[in-house]
Point group: C2
Chain length 323, copies 2
């Protein structure tokens, strides 16, 4: 019998990353392309089908067979009906029955989850969540996503299409404007967008001194990673932005630990590469807001799987469908 | 065989309320006395034993038998060892093995829970939580307590001694000082203490106009209930304090609904009698902070059992021990 394999796909606002994965979570082969988000749902779906067919061919060449596909997609997902309800960073897919269309075309089972939930499933399967029953997952990227594991399982709440939305918790009602329209969301303090807007704001207030950060800003070549490097090199504006990130994360997690009565969190996503700049402010913030908590037992961990967390989580969902 | 009955006790900072309850939740007889909190743990324990013995005698007279006692106590409770870990409003009991001492003296099983958890168990048994799987409980009293029901059961988290601490969620980091030492807790916006301190602050700023509220304040006879009556009579300071309460509750619940992916909350405690003054500001606040939520399905209910919720919840815990 052919070796059972699955495909995991992580569809972000810019890139679509996919991989051929075995049932033990070993990544056999990776692909990466653009999401084709701006050209409409049918173009994005075609690109996704191409990627899956290429991986299915690869599987066959390796003597294997793809049994199912798992998709991790940013936004409100109706997993049951395989439909993207609303995706702020992938507007072309809004309302699109992506998973069910893919299933019809590829003739294999396809499951879809929110990308932050997929991140959590990945970390729980073979990352920082291994062996933890109760924990909060936070993904720091263009926006801030989240997930909740309770009693060893991904918590789905009342199946309302939103859950684990840590990014839109308000940490300061008079805080910076968020892309969602609210003021003071965690996302407006702790995302890549928050870093870039923070530099923009510093520049407009005339407090961005000459140097690499100023140069990147003037050349419109700012990225979260560059803000991080400038913070490491001692730039005060960049460091203050990471301190704000750590403060906001500490407050949000302290609030949630108090209500959930738990003590573990896992932080991932691309911007978690700025860990060394925000972890000390985060710990300081949590100590400041420690009422009812036992700070000594709090355990905030960094993602182990990094960029592969959502990819592997999606693959795991596919494995579950087959088993 | 004698009719099985239990005793439920709700021990607050000032009063100790107890009742003889049958296994169906019918209250047969009530007692109420002072908590004797200021005179030390042994005096408070003796008073509790007196109350229980009186109810046991009553049960015998009625042809029944008390099978167990359930205690609801404000603070951090170590249910497993029957010990009060830390109680801000009952400092005499800090560290005291209240439940285990009571068990030894009365020679029947005694269980103890945090009073907000007892409130939740009561509402879930025969109140506003009947039939609800997932909901947040909030008790508005001298302080603000809370509990969490997930999957139809009281959520206990990692058994760290704190859970459901909604009152110490920070809703505004620059907000008013809380008794716990933090700034901007929900409790500092939405408790009886917050109402009284709000009037105090208005008086010190010279914006408390002549009238009943001013008179109560000057005579040092302010209570949360009087602030509520003055709000009903149109006093602007009192109304603003209930608006602040509703705003803070709306923000805190919106943040929790987003993360938990659920849609039900039940509000109880003595200060929930101010419902008519804070519910509209609460709904307005939740609409303002509705990112990712479907406001149309949100359901914030008022406690059905009122003052009896924690008493009945404690009784239910006692029934569970016997069955």
């Amino acid at each position: 019998m052919a070796n059972m394999m699955v495909i995991g796909v992580d569809i972000g606002g810019t890139h679509m990353r996919s991989a051929l994965v075995d049932s033990e979570g070993q990544i056999i082969l990776r692909r990466r392309t653009f999401s084709e988000n701006s050209s409409g749902a049918s173009r994005a779906t075609e690109r996704l089908i191409q990627e899956c067919r290429a991986l299915m061919d690869d599987a066959a060449r390796l003597g294997g067979r793809v049994a199912a596909v798992g998709l991790g997609v940013a936004g409100k997902i109706d997993s049951e009906n395989g439909r993207v309800m609303f995706s702020p960073h992938l507007p072309a897919l809004n309302g699109h029955p992506l998973a069910s269309e893919l299933r019809d075309r590829l003739e294999i089972p396809v499951v879809m989850e929110n990308d932050a939930n997929a991140f959590g499933i990945g970390e729980s399967w073979m990352g920082a969540g291994l062996g933890l029953d109760n924990w909060i997952g936070v993904t720091l990227g263009t926006g801030v996503g989240g997930c909740l594991f309770l009693g060893g399982r991904l918590w789905q709440g009342d199946q309302l299409g939103f859950v684990g939305e840590v990014g839109h918790m308000i940490v300061h009602p008079d805080g910076p404007r968020c892309a969602c329209g609210q003021n003071g969301c965690l996302e407006a303090h702790a995302s890549a967008s928050a870093l870039l807007e923070g530099v923009e704001s510093a520049a407009s207030r005339g407090i961005l001194a000459a140097g690499p950060l100023f140069d990147f800003w003037r050349a419109r070549k700012l990225t979260a990673e560059r803000v991080f490097h400038c913070a490491n090199q001692g730039n005060a504006v960049a460091q203050a932005l990471f301190q704000r990130m750590g403060w906001a994360l500490g407050l949000a997690l302290a609030n949630l630990f108090r209500v959930l009565g738990i003590r573990h969190a896992i932080i991932g996503g691309g911007v978690s590469s700025g860990w060394d700049q925000f972890i000390i402010p985060l710990e300081k913030s949590m100590s400041q807001y420690s009422c009812m908590l036992d700070i000594g037992v709090i355990d905030v961990r960094r993602s182990v799987l990094g960029d592969d967390a959502a990819l592997l989580g999606s693959a795991r969902l596919a494995v579950n469908v087959v088993n």
